[in-house]
């Protein structure tokens, strides 16, 4: 019984982290699906989302507003707007001019952008990590009094529900809306979509904006969950999310969701049963192994190299 409780606790923790990874991973996978580049600066956009949310929360608290749902919604909206604008601007400045050049050029440009954004926030907000107020506390406890207690906090439930809403909204958007259909068309064949009168530049911008908005949601959620943010906050999370995207098959949206969950669980099992320090090693090793043995990921389509 104890073991089972401990296991379920790790599972819950893993699914919580994993669902936020999935939110970030969508940004990677959509961009990769459409223009075939790794948006290295995506982790930084997520970090900026977290910072904006924190600024909004602190600002509202200073104004004396204490009604929780209002605070959360305003923080979420602010984070999404700033991050999406950032995503749009990054694409415009660093990626559009180099689109279609040799593969390494956009990637190096993206790395430069990532360093730039990291230091932008570092200079503006300092390098120290800043505490994120725990707005949602408390939760359910399971298990007998003296043994191991499994807990499911309200925060974790919030993360699940928010992620679920975002994923559903995204799926509906991609499958039903006009822009979503155009997104799918562009990811299948950019040139053909262009010929058929789709404004591909606009669709590519839209992809960046959507990815950034979801990353901002993840930024708010994970900021509250971990309880602090710092300018390097986005780097590792971005790598993890990229791993999740690759795991699920890069370019595939359901794959990103699945990959995120699997990665989150794998990580929390490692820290639960082995050691917390090695959880990053596990996820990077997982990334290397997948790329070596199944580069298309779980749900990805094999890529045929044409001459």
């Amino acid at each position: 019984m104890q073991d089972l409780l401990y296991f379920s606790q790790q599972l819950i923790n893993g699914l919580t982290i994993g669902s936020t990874y999935a939110l970030i991973a969508i940004g990677y996978t959509m961009v990769y699906g459409i223009i075939g580049m790794i948006n290295f600066a995506h982790g930084e956009i997520y970090m900026i989302g977290a910072y904006t949310a924190l600024i909004a929360i602190t600002g509202l608290a200073a104004l004396g507003i204490a009604w929780l749902p209002l605070i959360l919604i305003v923080a979420l909206l602010c984070a999404m707007i700033v991050s999406s604008s950032m995503g749009w601007a990054v694409e415009r400045v660093a990626y559009r001019p180099v689109r279609g050049r040799h593969r390494l050029i956009p990637l190096i440009s993206a790395i430069g952008m990532s360093i730039f954004l990291q230091n932008y926030v570092h200079l503006a907000q300092g390098s120290r990590n800043i505490g994120f107020p725990a707005l949602i506390d408390g939760g359910f406890n399971f298990g007998s009094g003296d043994g191991f207690q499994m807990s499911l906090s309200y925060m974790q439930i919030t993360i699940f529900i928010t992620t679920l809403i975002c994923m559903t909204a995204l799926s509906l958007f991609i499958s039903r809306s006009r822009t979503g259909r155009a997104c799918r068309a562009v990811s299948q064949d950019l040139g053909m979509a262009n010929l058929l009168g789709i404004d591909t530049n606009r669709i590519i911008s839209a992809t960046f904006v959507i990815g950034a908005a979801l990353a901002a949601v993840a930024g708010l959620l994970l900021g509250m969950y971990y309880g602090s943010v710092d300018p390097l906050f986005g780097f590792i999370a971005g790598l993890k999310a990229f791993t999740a995207a690759v795991l699920g098959g890069i370019g595939s949206i359901p794959g990103a969701m699945l990959g995120g969950l699997i990665l989150g669980v794998a990580e929390s099992m490692t820290s639960g049963y082995l050691s917390g320090e090695y959880k990053d090693v596990i996820s990077f090793s997982l990334l290397i192994l997948i790329l070596l043995f199944k580069p298309t990921g779980l749900l990805g389509k094999p890529e045929v190299e044409k001459i």
Binding site: T52, L54, R103, L107, G112, I115, L239, V246, L287
Partner: protein
């Protein structure tokens, strides 16, 4: 058109405000567990507004500005002079380079200790950048975990000296060979991957090495690092005030001169200089050997190169291993220079800096890479008040270089014959 332009410009200016004002205009301050928000001072806000105005004006008059920039005559007008014959140019170039190296040999005796120390660091970066240049510039493999091999070299020396008391001169080849071995072992499976996947895998590998160094406390001392790494000796002569090891003599006593801490610094500088020149010469040779041509061929067109019978794995692996070898070299020198190493010195940012050097200098171009290494290391020292902006400028420079001049400041020149144009 004008109205459209205006709308676009307004939109861009608005976006500029959105992405800069909330982050720059408000400062979060942590006091204990409480976080307070303060507005930035007036100058910052004016700067933000100014940025938005500039973006607006630029977008509004984009075509005019771009047209104006194009009409400015090129600062170096194409001379009508006959270009120098290739072999004559090469001869002059090699004389100039030899002159610079000779100058560099005598230079440390006339300057302060601090600048010699800095110059040693520059030379370490030169070695690293030359090594990465083989991997990224010549073979076209984006290696984001290059710092891992640097770490292998440094830790090999540190650990061996701690446990077996090995000397610098023995550790130098061992560190380099071990780093090369790491490159070989890592490269073998991953080189099948396509460019951008390779980049991420090498990045993951670099992080794994760093995390292992950080957590394997019993062997590496974890975050505390390893100290007491010995200085190099000159034929058994030590540079310390007192001889530490049995059988060694001290440099200043042998030559009967007064002890000075500068001897050691200058000696290290000279070692780094010799090694950097060695690195440059060896890689220069490689570039002209069949394997060097194969690197470039594979970078330019993998399918064509393979259909001509080049073994993809062997060619890529050779580039990867050689790059790793020189990183190991640099790592050993670094460990000896610092006397203390910790995982702090081998973070991803270090890989990014080395990559930035290669990119700024011009991928594949040795002279460009050397100049960029010097510039990137020395400029922040000269402009200390801007040192906190160093990485910001780095990032921006990388983006701008990719957008405007992806071939780098001093692009690689291929030895080639030009046909004379028939009028």
């Amino acid at each position: 058109m004008a109205a459209n332009n205006f709308r676009h410009a307004l939109f861009c200016a608005f976006i500029t405000l959105i992405i800069s004002y909330p982050i720059i205009g408000f400062n979060l301050e942590a006091q204990g567990i409480n976080v307070t928000l303060t507005g930035a001072d007036a100058t910052t806000i004016v700067m933000v507004l100014l940025a938005a105005v500039i973006v607006f004006l630029f977008q509004m008059f984009r075509e005019q500005i771009m047209g104006g920039l194009k009409s400015i005559p090129h600062p170096l007008p194409q001379s009508n002079k006959e270009p120098m014959a290739e072999n004559r140019r090469a001869k002059i170039e090699s004389w100039v380079l030899t002159g610079i190296v000779v100058l560099a040999l005598f230079w440390p005796f006339f300057v302060s200790r601090g600048s010699v120390d800095l110059a040693t660091l520059v030379l370490i970066y030169v070695m690293l950048a030359l090594g990465l240049n083989v991997v990224v510039g010549l073979a076209g493999l984006l290696d984001l975990g290059y710092v891992a091999f640097y770490a292998v070299g440094a830790y090999t020396f540190a650990l061996l000296s701690q446990y077996t008391g090995i000397s610098f001169w023995l550790a130098l080849p061992i560190g380099a060979l071990l780093a090369a071995l790491f490159g070989l072992v890592l490269g073998f499976p991953v080189l099948r991957l396509r460019g951008d996947y390779l980049a991420i895998v090498t990045l993951g590998f670099g992080e794994i090495i760093r995390i292992l160094l950080n957590n394997w406390t019993t062997l590496t001392g974890g975050p505390n690092g390893i100290g007491g790494i010995p200085d190099p000796t000159l034929f058994g002569m030590e540079f310390g005030r007192r001889v530490k090891e049995e059988g060694n003599t001290s440099f200043h006593e042998t030559f009967g001169i007064a002890y000075s801490g500068e001897h050691k610094v200058i000696f290290l500088y000279l070692i780094a200089l010799v090694l950097a020149v060695f690195t440059a010469l060896v890689i220069r040779r490689f570039m002209r050997m069949p394997v060097g041509r194969a690197w470039e061929a594979l970078r330019e067109d993998e399918i064509a190169a393979r259909s001509l019978g080049l073994s993809r794995t062997a060619v890529k692996l050779s580039a990867f291993t050689i790059g790793a070898f020189f990183a190991g070299f640099a790592g050993t020198v670094f460990a000896s220079k610092q006397g203390f190493i910790s995982p702090e010195s081998f973070v991803f940012l270090e890989s990014a800096i080395i990559l930035a050097i290669v990119v700024l200098g011009g991928m594949g171009s040795q002279i460009g890479v050397v100049l960029a290494a010097i510039a990137v290391t020395i400029l922040p020292e000269l402009a200390r008040e801007f040192s906190e902006y160093r990485m910001l400028i780095f990032g921006a420079a990388m983006v701008l270089m990719m957008v405007w001049r992806p071939q780098g400041l001093m692009p690689m020149r291929r030895i080639h014959i030009e046909l004379k144009r028939q009028e």
